[in-house]
Homo-oligomer: 180 residues x 2
């Protein structure tokens, strides 16, 4: 995809569907699934929803505004473990509802920006990656959602890694990200 | 997980949620997403839903009945490309509705079997994998759903593999199953 070819309708189509898709997958699931991880220092579905909430609050829209304002300092650093304190005492249903609310507001904010091709090519400074554009930030928002949907599916699949018996060789998700 | 420890409530919890989760993710999405693939001989989200329908019709419940009947011949072989003819002329919304209907019926059938621990340990013959149990078949049904949820997320994420620019190094789903 060349620069400035990002279609904002395509972006909004995914961003606006993620909360309902994750709620339909996770809400009311037994703890076997919700608290499963892929091992030490990996995230459960519950942890992932807390992370997505933290991103809605501190990453996508704040960084889009930073780019549009022409800031020359780098973005603020992102805290990748914030959910371990922020989600405390909240159940999964509450987290899913919070994520859906924040996403609805953020998609409305994004659409209200009426971004032009010139806006999409605005450049800013990522604290680790260097120069990035607004277009790249929006594409990343979408792929980040899908990455975590895939992570949740993979993490839950591995709960039955042994239970599937000889079928495991046909179920390639069980081999993804396996530690040797 | 040891043999005969499969909890049927956990199985049904995932099986009954997959259709709504996929519908919330996919229904009404622009074709950019629905028809995307990971390259030649890989499946689009549209293809995957057709495959899931074919499995509901010919794989899970028919094989469970085969095992419970104590059949000594192997299962019928599964057609992994049936969806390319069966989905013809159907749009994605129709496929999603068909999948949801079939899954609802099949989960009801599964629950109506009132399976015991003895039933779960019933053995049968897979045409390629050899001896398998009913418990392994049911675990495979669940992991197969999650495998295809992960595949759909990965396939759609790769539409923006270039658009994310330098962020690609943080988005590990873009590297999964990449051909060298």
């Amino acid at each position: 995809m060349k620069e400035n070819e990002l279609n904002l309708d395509d972006v909004v189509a995914i961003l606006s569907r993620t909360p309902a898709s994750l709620a339909a997958l996770l809400d009311g699931l037994p703890n076997t699934w919700v608290s499963a991880t892929e091992g030490a220092d990996t995230w459960s579905p519950y942890d992932v929803i807390g992370h997505l909430i933290h991103c809605e609050r501190t990453d996508w829209i704040p960084r889009a505004r930073h780019l549009l304002a022409g800031e020359t300092r780098p973005f603020d650093k992102f805290d990748r473990t914030a959910q371990f304190t922020e989600s405390e005492s909240k159940n999964l249903a509450e987290l899913l509802a919070t994520f859906a609310d924040l996403r609805r507001q953020n998609v409305a904010t994004l659409m209200g920006m009426n971004l032009t091709a010139d806006d999409l090519s605005r450049r800013g400074l990522h604290p680790e990656l260097g120069e990035v554009t607004l277009e790249q930030l929006l594409a990343t928002w979408v792929v980040h959602d899908l990455d975590h949907v895939g992570q949740i599916a993979r993490t839950m699949a591995k709960v039955y890694a042994e239970a599937v018996g000889p079928w495991s060789q046909y179920l390639s998700i069980l081999q993804d990200r396996q530690r040797k």
